[in-house]
Point group: C2
Chain length 412, copies 2
Amino acid sequence: MKGNVIVGQSGGPTAAINSSLAGVYRTAKDRGAKKVYGMLHGIQGLMEEKYIDLSEHIKNDLDVELLKRTPAAYLGSCRFKLPDIHQDMATYEKIFAILNKLEIEALIYIGGNDSMDTIKKLSDYSILTGSEIKFIGCPKTIDNDLALTDHTPGYGSAAKYIGTSVKEIIRDSYCLEYEKGVVTIVEIMGRNAGWLTGASILAKGEDCAGPDLIYLPEVTFDLHKFRDKVAKLLEKQPSVVVAVSEGIHTSDGKYVCELGQAVDFVDAFGHRQLSGTASYLTSFIAGELGCKTRAIELSTLQRAGSHLASRVDILEAYQVGGAAVLAADEGDTGKMVTLVRHSDDPYQCGTEVKDVHKIANDEKLVPKDWISKDGSYVSDDFITYVRPLIQGDVSPIMVDGIPRHLYRPITK
Amino acid sequence: MKGNVIVGQSGGPTAAINSSLAGVYRTAKDRGAKKVYGMLHGIQGLMEEKYIDLSEHIKNDLDVELLKRTPAAYLGSCRFKLPDIHQDMATYEKIFAILNKLEIEALIYIGGNDSMDTIKKLSDYSILTGSEIKFIGCPKTIDNDLALTDHTPGYGSAAKYIGTSVKEIIRDSYCLEYEKGVVTIVEIMGRNAGWLTGASILAKGEDCAGPDLIYLPEVTFDLHKFRDKVAKLLEKQPSVVVAVSEGIHTSDGKYVCELGQAVDFVDAFGHRQLSGTASYLTSFIAGELGCKTRAIELSTLQRAGSHLASRVDILEAYQVGGAAVLAADEGDTGKMVTLVRHSDDPYQCGTEVKDVHKIANDEKLVPKDWISKDGSYVSDDFITYVRPLIQGDVSPIMVDGIPRHLYRPITK
């Protein structure tokens, strides 16, 4: 590379997104980039000329290792949708003026569906105007809902956290006995795609029966069938543990969480923020069955739990970061790096690049035939798919009993 | 030892209670006990003659290691208060008949305040009736509220989980920017004692500012002062993270969680089950300040997170289990094993035994001078106290990407 590279992070944070940042930084440096800039809070920050020189922050090999183990977006993230090019040329002129001033040769954007929309628009504008800047997307999302890639970095670590936590919750739930039994409902992220909730199946093994019921948002949720299933389970066991996606909805299209309370937040892409599904269902079950209930939301812990990251995930995240720089250096633009699985066992997986136009704004859902017919469990195919992605550990670098992260002071 | 030993687990589960069970089993076997029985669901199960022969479950050294790493009560737990002896002799006659039938020489009960009440009553009855059975209590509670012991096994692992998770939550909270800032409220267990909530301070270090505010139940909570503090913090930083105990209450004695909703559950010891504190406070702050908010309850994860256990904690739990058997074998009864700290740094700690009459039903709270004057933070003394208890790791034994536990099938 002859010029400079700039990298940004966008969308919801994960335990692996900083490993991709480390991969971008290392490969760009290795391939001769003079400067590697990091935009602060993604494209939104770049438009305000907020960026840093990454070499002032990543000073040595230990910093690279710490960055790989630091959850959430080191550079800060954003949820910002670029306007359509023909409607607002000024925005693009502004961004390209900044990129040109910084002598940027390649812009790498680490993110999910919405972020790939950004790459698409920037590369379209670049082609329209004859700019030589390359734009490459680097996949990231715990939701695992990106099209054309076998899976997304960030998903494996979240899946490992969910499988482990649900197993610990199951163990805990059997300790105390209640006259009419106890029902624990674990709420897991996933608006439309059930990849995360399905990962609760990983709790199952020789030493654990796993969750009793698993409800994904891909299929309609029936409140009364649910109650009957729970009641039947309580006849033979003292504890029932249920994993539900935050996005499960009834046949009339209403989110379960909306049945009980108002939804108060809609983000820039029009996505509603959901929560309260487990809380609503526990009230419902307690009322209907009179048993003890407990609602547990895994909340942001499931995306930030880097102390329990998957080694496969962290290494793949690093790898796609490097592959993004390589693609740009080889002349690609308007592409996203994808992960291509060659085999499940032994697990083998490599990277390719694909046209971002085929990816942006398209959601990959759990295949219907990976969900049981009555919509209350996932199949062995699901396990075969997810199991390789949670293998291996990345030992946290412990300082005084707590994992150390790479730190960037943030003030207003 | 010439006879048999029986061990039970009682009260809320922890990540370390099974390590104490392992310690009891090993030491009893080493000292010549013929059989080591485990009562299922504590004294309540014993009264129904529900018990197992532990050697049929703990078959080798690997099982001992797995047991140390298995969260929650392997034997099942209970919350059962024995009646006063003079009011109900029949209950005691029944228990002692079972113990005599099993040729029990020592009964070890692993639990918290309420469980020590059980040891007290059983040993009192034993003295009254001239029984030679020894009764020893083994401390356990994540709440760390037992009197006369420096700390309780289970607390260190919960503290490590809380410190680590709060740090990850803080990291996550700074990713996305919101116009009026974001306030995250983390709800931590602790009805009357703030030991767990105080442990959120462990998130603080060279690489993290730690939680901005920490509210313990030992002091009165003022809703409007809280709002003003948050508003002031939001002037200079984009994210504010607050750790609150589930048991914080206002000056009129009302729990904060009661301000918003009904409390629906009271256990056998008359303790109300609290939750919804963070949820109430986020609604309040959103309404008052118009900022984005997020409520996170660490819920049972904080007591079941054995994948992140503290090595000091797990080893001390094992040690007190062994010390309990030793005390009984040396003729003690009506005693609880305590941990006695000799120094903070280097940390040195040993065991003693103390009269259970001085312990039962007495709650140890966080000293007032370890809480800041305005009640919104903890002091360096708190850190000095808790830091040694979270040192070192107990690597989970990973099988196919998920921690393996020692399994006992449980049906109705």
